[in-house]
Amino acid sequence: MSDPIIATTGLGHAYGSVVALHGVDLEVPAGRIGLVGANGAGKTTFIKILLGILDPTVGDASVFGDDVRTSAIGIRSRVGYMPEGSCLPLSQTAADFVVYAAELAGIPAKAARQRGSDVLTLVGLHEERFRYLGDFSTGMKQRAKLAQAIVHDPDLVFLDEPTAGLDPEGREEMLDLIARLGSFGINVLVSSHVLTDIERTCDWVVMLDGGKVLRNGPMTGLVETDTVQVDVIGDPDAIAADLSARGATVSVDGTTLLVQASDQDPFDLVMAALADTGAGMRSLGARSTSLEDLFLAGAEGGGE
């Protein structure tokens, strides 16, 4: 892994007697990072610690190598934040607020005006830029929130539940925007409890449950498995019996068979079984698991 953009050691935080994060050890590389977990898993607390809003109760955390306790202002100069809740002044126009958000990050006024206009166009609010934010729909507000988070060209942007409250179309558009951020050179940490959103947009995933890390790794390695999935034409039970006789572990679901083999290539075993039984197949390939499966498996197993 290249230099991590986020690193934590034994990180913990408690609100009084309620433990929100416990023993979080992470190293996260540059790119698009998904932070997944159920509501109350500690995602927002984690982000607030990285922004220097909350102090860690125990442990250490750093962003771009800067300690969150001692260099919060330096970190905030390099990051953007789209909070889960409302963050828009309802009596201001979108253009005024986004320009102001850029100036708040230290961008000079003239450049801020230019960037405000550009970013509002990027998020699809160019036509509505002179409307008051109080008159915006939920989807438009989410776009305006994203605009203020990236208007100052941050190196890293924290997006906390960016698709919350959006209709399916708005959600698709927001996910497309998030996926594009990487190509702008902006690292992204997306916090969400919607696992499919993370699967679509991220190349690295951190799973939190009950304040602890369940998994932390690249998306490709996490979702690929050594299981082969084959959809057969013929008697699935006969094929399953043939595969079992060859030493494979087989589960049958209708005409679909999931095949695992510890010391042989499962693809070879499937081809041999199909030849022996005279059956055909509709599809054959490595089975991908979903983040949801992994999350549930991790939660049941108690984490890493």
Binding site: Y81, S86, C87, P89, E103, P108, D153
Partner: protein, 294 residues
Amino acid sequence: MTDRGAVFDLGYKPHDGERLGTPGAFRATVKDGLRRVLGLRRKARKKILPFFLLGVALLPAVVFVGLAFFLGEFSPDVESPFGGYEQYLGLAGTVLLIFSGLAAPELLVPDRVEGVLSVYSSRPLRARDYIGARATALLGVVAAFLVIPNLLMWIGFAALGEGAFPTEAIDGFGDFARSLAASVVYVLGYGVPAMLPAIYTKRTAPASGAYLAIMFFSVPIASALVESGFSASRWGALLALLQHPHVVRDWIFGSFNSDLPTVSQFEPWVSLAVILVVAGLTVILGMRRYRREM
């Protein structure tokens, strides 16, 4: 030349220019605060009250100078039937009090209620920078309420005086300087405490109402305590928050004062100390409140 247009996707442009850090963020917060206090770049109804009150504050000064022009023999001394700097401060102080009570909640409450603080907390600003910038915006406008009319009177009186303008301006500078010093006292005494209810409430109207009620009722409450006759009853006079700036103003101008703290035999510096303690307390409580959220 072609009759066919083309659309170019310029893509995302990174910012390679200067970044001004915390000082830039502070200036931006002050600028936004000035706009919000005056209702600029907001809907029209947000502009009505601040500019009405600014007009009301400016009116006495215009009237004083206008009368001097028409009467031709007006001078801004305290015995004048129309009044001068000192009388003006008394009139404008009330306007300033009302303006502060209305503007301070408008400046602080929406940021908390609408969640905008989370944007500030992702920028290179600390809680003390935010509070400092908001206070600078409020007190800047409040000071303008007093300084601009005073300046108008100083220039107007000098221009209408019998001698040459420079001579009259130099002669009148002493009173003008005293009026500026007294203006600072009014800003501290009326402007800063207006932020205190706004720090804790979630709606602007109750914050304004609470501040104005505390200030206006402070005098009858203090008076009742003083007249209650118990052994340390005179200390109740220090609760007359509305009157302390008047006491210090008269101290600065060397004038007679009959407000409750003076009648209760407190030296004028005690009133100044009360003003500073209340202002300091407001700053400390504001810092504590906002440090939890930023």
